[in-house]
């Protein structure tokens, strides 16, 4: 089985300072892979490098086996990858409908399909309908995260990269937000790479987990094993 997303010996950093090195990750079709680790372990850097937001210093990124290392985020998005960025990535001065329009325009969703896509997302996350015309700055944290997830789903991605979506949310709200995404994974084969610090909640929905420590992969395996193993718990 060809992984939908794969990194081979990936290394990256900022301004000559190495943050991640020799990262080998595979994300299989319809899989939820959870990446956990301390603050500063390199989780977000790994995700950003996969999405083309940071140029790697070494190694490569592959989508469906094709090398996409040199592609920019727009090109990667057009291959069916979407990202829910850390900090929700909503624009305070824009209304929710503007944010959605921006999201569809960014990845070239044809005009004729935009209304249908919007309805599809509102069907998955119906609560958004109530605050479509409100500026994002007036929304609660949970509503903003819902918008961020909804925006990422608009192009109907095959691969969803989520960077700490639980930040600032109660566990129940976090699970409520992830439930529709989980449903898409189960029914439509969406593959999800979930970077999280909220290990307990993240492992509940993951098929596989890996631990990043000091910019390198320290462990990979089953979520149950990770949750029960005291030595592993110390790693994160």
């Amino acid at each position: 089985m060809t992984p939908v997303l794969e990194t081979r010996g990936l290394a990256a950093g900022y301004g000559g300072r190495s943050v991640i090195s020799d990262i080998n990750v595979t994300l299989n079709p319809s899989e939820v892979l959870c990446v956990i680790g301390h603050n500063g372990a390199g989780k977000s850097t790994m995700l950003k490098t996969m999405f083309g937001l940071i140029s790697p210093d070494a190694g490569s990124v592959h989508i469906d086996g094709e090398d996409v290392t040199k592609l920019n985020p727009r090109d990667i998005a057009e291959l069916g990858v979407a990202m829910v960025p850390e900090g929700r990535g909503v624009f305070p001065s824009l209304s929710v409908s503007d944010i959605f329009a921006l999201g569809m325009h960014a990845v070239g969703v044809p005009k004729a399909e935009r209304a249908e896509r919007l309805e599809w997302v509102l069907g998955i996350l119906p609560a958004i309908r109530e605050f479509m015309e409100r500026p994002a700055s007036t929304l609660s944290g949970g509503q903003q995260q819902m918008v961020s997830i909804g925006r990422a789903l608009l192009p109907r991605p095959r691969i969803l990269l989520m960077d700490e979506p639980s930040i600032g949310l109660a566990p129940k709200l976090f699970q409520d937000l992830l439930a529709p995404v989980r449903k898409l994974q189960q029914e439509e084969g969406l593959s999800i790479l979930l970077v999280e610090q909220n290990v307990r909640e993240a492992l509940k929905i993951s098929d596989r987990a890996l631990v990043v420590k000091s910019g390198a992969i320290a462990w990979t395996g089953e979520p149950e094993e990770l949750a029960d193993n005291k030595r592993l718990i110390e790693l994160y």
Binding site: L53, L94, D98, L102
Partner: protein, 291 residues
Amino acid sequence: MEAYIFNLLNLIAIYGILAVSLNFIIGYAGIYSLAHAVFFGLGAYTSAWVGLNVTPSTFVTIPAAMLVAAIVSLVLALPALRVRGEYFVAASLGLQVIAVTVFSEWKSFTGGIGGVLAIPPVNLFGAEIYQPREFAIVSVIALLIVIAITLALVRSSFGRNLRAIRDSESAAASFGKNVPLIKTVAVVISAALAAVAGALYASFISFINVESFMLDTSVLLMAMVIIGGTGTFLGPLVGAALLLILPSAISYLSFLPQTEIGALQQIIYGLGMTLLMIFRPGGIVGRRSGT
């Protein structure tokens, strides 16, 4: 008195174009430039050169001015916009310093320190327009066109992109937006529109030299935008009008000692700006503090 008022109106329209074009990048894209006077100057020098050496037709001088300013703005934008905000400010300051030196030394194009004299007036279909009253019609129409262009852009998907980038560059990039390209296009448009003001200024004054295009002009333009209200439609116009009228208005206050009027102007002007920024940081037209 009538000529004075129309002269002032022309200057408000010309500086209004500059403030509107600067607000396009400051207010909607969050790009703070200290080089706007460079594009103002490039527009003025280019249109003067074309007017004196090629044709006085305004339909040629203004597009030529816009083209040159757009090309030079690319030189600034392409490398500088790949870095974050404060680095662009520094890069634009560098361009401003270099441009002043070039404007002062490139005698064959700019006339050096002495400047360029006898610049042809606005020429529309062979008719020369140099009287302040008639010129005011041209300058106000030009201002309205520039406002219409910027409003159309701001309300389009391009404007939505700019506001998204202003709010969060990293989030816009995670949407798949080509942030450097969008910012570069915004800077090029802003510079080309500033060149329109330069071309009008050269035609109106008929004499230009480097003193009109120095760093203090760039700072004055930024002050117009910030005091008026960044990211607002009326703010830059109010800022331009206020900062052009205020110094003259102060000189009419009869109770002020005429020998000290220059220093008093500066003190009142500076104090007014400081108080405004404390009590209305969003500018005169912008939102009140805390709302």
